[in-house]
Symmetry: C2
Subunit: 338 residues, 2 copies
DNA sequence: CTGAAAGCGCTTACAG
DNA sequence: CTGAAAGCGCTTACAG
């Protein structure tokens, strides 16, 4: 069957302890002995048993990635924005010699206890926008338990948590200034404005700041709540059109919302960007492909994934939680250029 | 610190063995004793240590998902088609009480030894199209080692491996028949035709069968190799246009290829579908959004993910490998309807 | 530099 | 139904 360190010890004529040391590159081993042992290990196709190692050393060398979804979203669809972070997270983990456990969670599950307490993972990465109110409570519990975790998203007030997120206020501002520069005077905003959705709230705040700076009016009739799906964006925009308040610019709080909004506008016979200029947020792959291609704000997901892992590892090693605000980048495409 | 089964035993006034049994719902425990133990466990926030359990019981209760990429693809991008399976795979795993380890691999790495030998995972799920030649060799090794694994994709000839895949021949045939029904007479095929890419090969075969059945000619000048990226589809189509051979239908071997192809056609001043009808393959989210929306073949990724997990678990439990060919579904959209 | 020994926290025959 | 004991395969003080 599977070779153990005792099998190697026997063949090498040394003790099992020495095998263990040699394989872990301990300096406490004669160079020649080490080479001999490593040769035998290779020959026998030996791999250290992770369960034994982890049990003994009391660490799992594993990180857990938990993805959250709004429960009202189609089960099969994950927000493509978070998916795009998966690549850099897995890569950063494997570079650090860590394994990555991935799981989708409903907000209301018992996930906050599951991973760290069972020694499955040394730390947790949290990804996903959901109802912040539920979420916050679990975060508090995680923190009280002393679990190491990091999350992508807006800063969590009055709690020492490592949050890495894009600068939503700046992104919202840049997009709105861009719309203004294209001549837009009356702008709609589609996306939930609530403390439960701090990302969207930040974008909306930037949006307002830009409007105020340009002395443009903010009409609450031109804002409609929507979660981050194409369908929600479509419905909200149809609802908006029903209200009969004219607008020449539309800010979708996410790309999915904006893409749904464009569909609703086009179905209503409006030209994008001619009649209404549209912008989104996230720069998901779809944004390049939609017609017209969507102007948006890009968050550097590659960097974010790397930072998430690096900071989690640092926390496990004992450093303090911190907040990182990543710069965002405006990507101008056809949907907003009049 | 963290509670152990001994802590619970002490408080409950029973032996540690009884605690273990009670928590695993063994019938060998008095109902009242069990309730008492479970209450204490809950109170202490006790979770079974996975490493200890796994070491003792010699199974990891974990599956590994390995995603492969062509090395020439942008590092940050994963084929959205495979990503869409991630959701159903994680869900199927957690329903079965298994954890899922996710990792991206380069084809040339040592992944085939990494997981099973170290007892990290009881079985492996392989996802991704890559160069089949390299791939096949590793599969043989995995099989020889007795590792349990399943893969999504075309059947592997003369090797007992569980392969679950869509019916590429049927899909290729359906799409081509659809193009013929729209009046196309001369069709281009963009996608690598090689034994190293059996998925595309199957689609091409179905394509040819449909053309032959309709007595249409197959011009090798109208086929160009391309891997599954938008960029490759774009480049190949530009190359095709340079050849100056006229065509009125274009079959992209994947949606990404087809979307790149549409861009090249449109840039060349051709109307899709007016001048050239275009079809793709996979039904990735982008296909709905592109303009014109892309006609394609949908593979049931939800079902596929579930089957992959179910069959891997069955193999671990001792059942024989098998091949499953899943039906595919034509989705007709604007890009092909003249 | 090396070996003997303890022990990580469980599960599971074995005996009662 | 319950307990005492062995043992999964390692790592790591401890002693030399």
């Amino acid at each position: 069957m599977k070779a153990t360190s005792f099998d190697i010890a026997y063949r090498a004529g040394v003790s099992q302890s020495t095998v263990s040391r040699a394989l872990r590159n301990s300096p406490l081993v004669n160079e020649e002995t080490r080479r001999k042992i490593q040769a035998i290990a290779k020959e026998l196709n030996y791999k250290v048993d992770k369960n034994a190692r982890n049990l003994r050393s009391q660490q799992s060398n594993t990180l857990a990635l938990l993805l959250f979804e709004d429960t009202d979203v189609d089960e099969s669809q994950i927000n493509p924005f978070f998916l795009s972070m998966l690549g850099s997270i897995t890569r950063a983990c494997s570079n650090a010699g860590y394994d990555l456990l991935v799981s989708f969670q409903e907000m209301d599950n018992d996930w906050h206890a599951e991973y760290a307490d069972s020694n499955k993972a040394d730390g947790i990465i949290l990804l996903g926008y959901g109802d912040y109110t539920d979420y916050r409570e679990k975060l508090v519990q995680l923190h009280q338990q002393g679990t190491h975790f990091v999350r992508f998203g807006a800063e969590v007030s009055d709690m020492p948590v490592t949050s890495i997120g894009g600068d939503n206020v700046s992104g919202g501002k840049q997009l709105t200034e861009h719309l203004i520069s294209q001549g837009c005077k009356t702008m709609a905003f589609i996306g939930t404005i609530s403390a439960a959705a701090p990302e969207f709230l930040g974008r909306y705040q930037g949006h307002k700041e830009a409007l105020e700076a340009a002395a443009l009016t903010i009409d609450s009739n031109l804002q409609i709540n929507a979660i981050s799906t194409e369908q929600a964006g479509y419905q909200a925009t149809k609802e908006l059109l029903k209200r009969g308040v004219a607008f020449d610019g539309l800010f979708g709080a996410s790309d999915l919302i904006a893409i749904g909004a464009m569909r609703a506008l086009q179905e209503a016979g409006l030209q994008v960007p001619g009649d209404v200029a549209v912008v989104g947020y996230d720069d998901i792959p779809m944004a390049r492909v939609s017609k017209p291609a969507l102007t948006t704000v890009k968050q550097d997901t590659l960097l974010a994934g790397q930072l998430l892992v690096d900071n989690l590892l640092a926390m496990i090693a004992g450093s303090k939680p911190k907040t990182i605000l990543m710069p965002v980048q405006l990507i101008s495409r056809e949907s907003s250029v009049k």
